[in-house]
């Protein structure tokens, strides 16, 4: 590691590219988003990324028991945190105020069974006024809002604080023979399935809310709830809830009155 300023966690190759970004910005924002981010008083600094290849998939589960698979939950958390932290470190390196348009993805590759790449990509931005927009923890804010959403949010007296997420890997019990036979030919609720899905969702949402509370946010916007089985078979599901925590700046609402339009394109 040659550059002493570089965080230890960041792979060596990232340093050179980031050093070049002082002269030039890169961004995966579309032209609309780019111009809107400029209108909101921010300048894009560079495309920042974080990634981690992680081996997940080890935990024994009981066939007939609904339970959270804590080790897997921890692994999913840890891998995403690694990717997010590395992305934030790159933003830190660029002296950014925040990251907009963050995408968090999981990719699987052929060459490693159960090995998944967790990747976070976004555009680092900095306020042109020089006023710091970093969050309560003194770190660049992160947000999965698009350029349009970011502009709109800024007009309503709110600032993004951070991308918050909660995850829960849950094993849903198989039904025993007796239960299956009991419900054949009837229209009934399957309470054990309902219960399990409920609990998993609640756990994921609660964890997301806890993260937002740590950031001192007043709310979370654009929450998405994703359910994925990844490579664990049909009865093991990851519930992921993810959204942008926002804080109230106390600034007045400057959003223009919306005009209704009927567009002629299809």
């Amino acid at each position: 590691m040659s550059d002493p300023n570089l965080p230890v966690d960041l792979p060596r190759d990232a340093g050179k590219r980031l050093a070049e970004l002082k002269k030039l910005f890169t961004s995966d924002l579309s032209v609309n988003e780019f111009l809107l981010v400029k209108q909101a008083g921010f300048h894009p600094l560079g495309l920042v990324m974080g990634s981690s290849i992680y081996h997940t998939g080890i935990q024994t589960r009981k066939w007939s028991k609904s339970q959270e698979l804590t080790k897997l939950t921890e692994a999913m958390y840890n891998a995403r945190e690694l990717a997010m932290t590395r992305m934030e470190e790159e933003a830190e390196q660029l002296d950014a105020d925040g990251i907009v348009g963050v995408r968090l993805d999981v990719n699987y590759y052929e060459w490693g069974s159960d090995a998944a790449e967790f990747i976070a990509v976004g555009t680092a931005v900095k306020a042109e006024s020089g006023v710091s927009h970093r969050n309560k923890l003194g770190k660049p804010f992160t947000s999965d809002l698009s350029g349009q959403d970011f502009w709109t949010l800024m007009q309503t007296g709110h600032v993004p604080q951070g991308l918050v997420m909660g995850t829960c890997v849950y094993h849903i019990a198989h039904r025993g023979l007796g239960q299956t036979l009991g419900s054949v030919g009837q229209n009934v609720e399957l309470p054990n399935f309902t219960q399990a899905l409920y609990e998993a969702r609640e756990l994921a949402m609660t964890r997301m809310q806890e993260e937002a509370e740590r950031l001192g946010a007043t709310g979370i916007v654009g929450v998405r709830l994703e359910e994925k089985s990844h490579q664990w078979g049909s009865h093991t599901i990851e519930f992921l809830s993810i959204g942008t925590a926002v804080g109230d700046t106390g600034a007045s609402l400057t959003l223009p009155q919306p005009t209704a339009v009927i567009s002629l394109d299809n």
Binding site: D13, E20, L29, V31, N32, Q39, Y109, P258
Partner: protein, 283 residues
């Protein structure tokens, strides 16, 4: 991450220009030029016209670079010959596009569709776009710009005080590192990060992005917008990770920002279904 909604053009001026155009009965003040071909939609041609540009001709550039045999064996580090072939094919396709654009008197090419295929023995790059020129018949520049932005984005960018200067691209092909049997067995029973793979991916990504940045730097740009990345293993050599990135290089034009304040619109079309009962019928 382009917005799907075209109704939100944040340009008061644009609207005024279009209105005044309509009042004039859309009488283009173009010099007498023989008919033009372009793959721009009507909206795009109109928006271009509103900022004083016209489509000239559909232009195309293509190049194929060969890849030497035997380089796809599972080695270590970057597959240098493949990266070089990629850069060569893209560069040559772009300059062929520029040459065609110059031949028809265009100032630049917008809406370029980049189609690049990496095969076992060759890299094939095809670029198709519409050559455009400002109405009034100004002298075309020696080196026309190439941009994958749509006509609409091009017009917006110009109104916002920026000019496209060219297409920047970069790619890198890196071998996934092999693990020793002992390491593979140990890792297969744990939830851990596979640090050597992470490092390899980083190497591919960083050198591709860096190449893109250096092309942008050579073009004298101030930034790259709309960067698109394509990554993943190659279908015929699964142990090789490809990372490619390209985008349009932009430069501040020095003209004032003519966009004006943004207005907020609520599109009234495409009402969303609140509840789709189709799922209840077992699809």
């Amino acid at each position: 991450m382009t917005s799907g909604n075209d109704g939100d053009t944040p340009a008061g001026n644009l609207r005024d220009t279009l209105l005044s155009l309509a009042a004039k009965g859309y009488a283009p003040s173009m010099p007498a030029r023989k008919g033009s071909t372009s793959d721009l939609s009507i909206d795009e041609a109109l928006v271009l016209h509103s900022v004083g540009w016209e489509p000239v001709e559909l232009v195309c550039g293509a190049a194929a670079f060969s890849i030497p045999a035997g380089i796809w064996t599972w080695n270590q580090g970057e597959v240098v010959a493949a990266s070089a072939a990629y850069a060569g094919a893209m560069g040559r396709a772009a300059s062929a596009l520029q040459a065609e654009c110059r031949a028809v008197g265009g100032h630049g090419v917008v809406g370029v569709r980049v189609d690049v295929a990496v095969e076992r023995h060759l890299v094939n790059a095809v670029m198709v776009g519409s050559a455009v020129a400002p109405s009034g018949g100004a002298r075309p520049p020696a080196l026309p710009f190439v941009s994958d932005l749509s006509g609409r984005d091009f017009a917006l960018l110009r109104l916002g005080g920026w000019d496209p200067v060219g297409l920047a691209f970069g790619a890198s092909f890196v071998n996934a590192p092999r693990r020793s049997a002992a390491v593979a067995i140990r890792q297969s029973s744990q939830n851990v990060e596979l640090t050597n793979y992470t490092e390899a991916l980083y190497a591919a990504r960083e050198s591709a992005m860096e190449r893109m940045q250096s092309v942008a730097g050579q073009l004298g740009g101030q930034g790259v917008v709309g960067v698109r990345v394509s990554e993943g293993p190659l279908p015929f050599a699964r142990h090789v990770l490809r990372f490619a990135a390209w985008g349009t290089v932009v430069k501040a034009s020095g003209r004032p920002d003519q966009l004006g304040p943004v207005s907020v619109v609520v599109p009234l079309d495409d009402a969303k279904l609140a509840f789709d009962a189709a799922s209840l019928r077992g699809r």
